[in-house]
């Protein structure tokens, strides 16, 4: 890059800030946890993951972090995704394909409404213990 002016420096900073903020897990309030066990991956968890990333990026949602986890034991309804938004119940969604992933971002994260036809009840606490 050639020598910059003040404005160019500021623009560069803004664009790089967005890139860097994806790394940072600290100041994010909401969380999407994708089950990426063998079962999840086989059922298409990677595609769902890509869809989530893409959706968060294009909508410039900065306060949500995506992490992966192992198999939650709900192999029959993979890919499973747990969504935790402050002020809303923690929800597990089953059979999350690319389309559902995009709906979750739109309806759950932005619209603050549950995507009801894909909710998989969280097993009672005494079972997962």
């Amino acid at each position: 890059m050639a020598k910059m002016t003040l404005e160019e420096l500021r623009n560069l900073r803004e664009s790089k800030k967005k890139e860097m903020s994806q790394r940072d897990g600290n100041d994010k309030s909401a969380q999407i946890i994708i089950g990426m066990g063998t079962c999840g991956i086989a059922a298409g968890a990677k595609e769902a993951f890509d869809a989530f990333l893409d959706e968060l990026n294009t909508r410039e949602i900065m306060d949500t972090k995506i992490t992966q986890t192992g198999c939650m034991g709900l192999c029959f309804s993979e890919p499973t995704v747990e969504v935790d938004v402050p002020g809303m119940p923690r929800v597990i969604y089953g059979n999350v394909d690319e389309k559902v992933a995009r709906r979750i971002v739109k309806e759950h994260l932005i619209g603050k409404a549950l995507v009801s036809d894909h909710i998989f009840d969280k097993p009672a606490a005494d079972i997962i213990k």
């Binding site: 050639a2 020598k3 897990g25 066990g37």
Partner: protein
């Protein structure tokens, strides 16, 4: 391009020496081999500070903290964590911390990272990542929104004091230089870090080189200088490489060089490599060295702020001081001066080493107690031994004993108990360390590093060293102790520069707190810690020895004789007092004393 994961690999010198680079290459290879190049971005970063457990790998955004990671683990990390999202449990620092993030580890909890804000976060080889973390925003502010006087006032209100050790207010130095009319002024960064065991400045230059460049440019704009020099020792190849790389990138972006950011302000920075002489950390000697002369100090005043490099007004600050400045400008003095104690604001970086569980690089607010540093952050004394003392200030400092564990650390409090802040080396000692031995070590260092220009330092240091040597061999007398004190006073008063003036500090400090240990060496001819070899002997207790031959087999000089199932004997003339037999014996049959 968005990635799902970010793998941060420490590429500081400490981790590099334990195969950090091989690990990086292996991870790169594995990501490719397992088709996960688009899943995770591999980032080389600066020191995480947790060197004891290196090489360190941090995975974001889930903040997993892996320790002691070797190249052989790369395959597993990629296959398990990156592809399947499962933590590799055996590599976690605290096996209990499964699911916990790095910030929840005890080592980091009491720390506050201002100077090290970007170390272990950004890739120091890419200016863009520094810029993304508000890099060069402080320079913008100084160039387009503030006057020079406002910048100095901000530093003054912040209460920033020199982190090189003496604690002189930074704003005053700048003010002196700014107020002098001169055709040329200079900005110098003192990166000649010489204290044994200290590596704060090296890590800052390696992990966040742009913070130093930005701050120096700010100073250039403020006082009206157009040229800066970073004086760094040639023994720091990685830091030099990263600084040079950073300077190139800044020039390319127009953040260094002519007409910075399109303005009429021009400033450039060059490196000057030192040969590793301790005295060149003293500012007048450093300046002489940059000028191409032999690195010897000259009396002050005049101070460099008035008459420095090539006789021109020169602002000279230490690496850590520089790294603080962009944050103070950006966040304001009132943010900064809320951190710390009444007289010492902000944080201090320490290189925590010695007999401690978590040796590494730490940054704590001023006013943190030694107890918090050693027990909460450092994880206590290694091998369950007892704390004896901590040494701060390097060869110019002194020891802090158990009774002072709870005083809040700042410039004044450390001076009050006969030590000093110094540049930030902190060496922890346990019951096996002999104070005479330690003092001798520091004296040997200052004698070695004395430039020889003035007699008090050259002759006084050597004479004191000889006395200490005599005491450590059991040949000392009580008169020697008086002589030590007299010479120490003379050196303090009459030496030309800080090196000689402070060289007796380890003696005075240990004499003050551990006089009984000196007396034990002189009167009883004993070394209580069992460190001074001339006062030490190992003997076999006849009643306890069962003749297992374990000691004889481990002895490196074969001076233990005896048949199987018979009492063994150590030949005192041959014994080198290595203590291996003592450690090996399972029957407590060897007496140390």
């Amino acid at each position: 391009m968005a990635y799902k994961n970010y793998i941060l690999v420490c590429a500081g010198t400490a981790c590099e020496s334990s195969k950090g680079i091989a690990l990086y290459k292996e991870l790169e290879k594995e990501l490719k081999a397992q088709g996960a190049e688009t899943e995770a971005q591999l980032v080389k970063t600066g020191c995480f500070g947790f060197c004891e457990q290196g090489p360190i790998v941090k995975i974001l955004p889930d903040e997993t903290f892996y320790v002691k990671v070797g190249p052989q683990h790369a395959k597993q990390i990629v296959a398990e964590h990156i592809i399947k999202g499962r933590q590799v449990e055996e590599l976690l620092y605290d096996k209990e911390q499964k699911g916990k993030s790095a910030n929840e580890i005890g080592f980091y909890q009491k720390q506050k990272r201002i100077v090290l804000r970007n170390c272990g976060v950004i890739n120091p080889e890419f200016i863009d990542e520094y810029i993304a973390r508000d890099g060069y925003a402080a320079l913008e502010k100084v160039m387009f929104e503030m006057t020079g006087d406002e910048v100095i006032e901000e530093l003054c209100n912040a209460g920033l004091r020199g982190r090189g050790g003496a604690g002189f207010p930074t704003s005053l130095k700048w003010k002196f230089t700014k107020n002098i009319k001169a055709d040329q002024k200079y900005i110098v960064c003192n990166a000649d870090e010489g204290d044994p065991g200290a590596y704060m400045d090296r890590s800052t230059c390696e992990g966040d080189p742009h913070s130093v460049l930005e701050a120096m440019t700010i100073a250039g704009k403020t006082v009206g200088a157009s040229q800066g020099y970073i004086y760094i020792r040639a023994e720091y190849p990685l830091a030099i490489e990263r600084l040079n790389n950073a300077i190139d990138q800044s020039r390319e972006y127009g953040l260094l060089g002519d007409n910075i950011l399109g303005s009429d302000f021009s400033f450039d920075i060059e490196l000057r490599l030192g040969a590793g002489a301790f005295v060149c950390g003293e500012e007048t000697a450093l300046i002489a060295s940059i000028e191409g002369k032999r690195g010897m100090p000259i009396p002050r005043p005049p101070f460099p702020a008035v008459k420095g490099l090539w006789g021109k007004p020169t602002v000279i600050n230490n690496v850590e001081t520089w790294a603080n400045i962009p944050m103070i400008i950006l966040k304001g003095s009132s943010w900064f001066n809320r951190i710390g104690t009444e007289s010492s604001k902000g944080t201090k970086v320490f290189a925590l080493t010695g007999k401690i569980n978590n040796s590494g690089l730490i940054e704590v607010p001023m006013g943190t107690t030694l107890r918090e540093i050693i027990y909460d952050i450092g994880g206590g004394i290694a091998n369950g031994k007892k704390f004896k003392a901590a040494q701060t200030g390097g060869p110019s400092g002194g020891v802090i004993t158990e009774e002072f564990l709870d005083i809040p650390i700042d410039y004044e409090s450390l001076q009050g108990i006969g030590s000093m802040m110094g540049s930030g080396g902190m060496i922890v000692m346990d019951e096996d360390d002999c104070m005479i031995d330690i003092t001798k070590f520091y004296l040997e260092f200052t004698v070695d590093e004395s430039c020889g220009k003035c007699a008090p330092c050259r002759i006084g240091g050597r004479t004191n060293y000889n006395i200490l040597d005599k005491i450590s061999k059991g040949q000392g007398t009580l008169e020697d102790l008086d002589q030590l004190k007299v010479l120490a006073q003379a050196m303090r008063k009459a030496s030309l520069c800080g090196l000689g003036q402070t060289a007796p500090n380890p003696i005075m400090s240990t004499l003050n707190y551990f006089e009984d240990e000196y007396l034990a060496h002189i009167n009883d001819k004993k070394c209580p810690a069992g460190k001074c070899k001339d006062l030490l002997s190992y003997t076999i207790i006849e009643d306890q020895c069962i003749g297992c031959t374990a000691c004889a087999r481990v002895c490196p000089v074969n001076c233990i004789s005896g048949k199987v199932k018979e009492v063994h004997l150590i030949d005192q003339d041959q014994c080198i007092k290595c203590g291996q037999c003592f450690d090996k014996c399972n029957f407590d049959a060897i007496l140390k004393g």
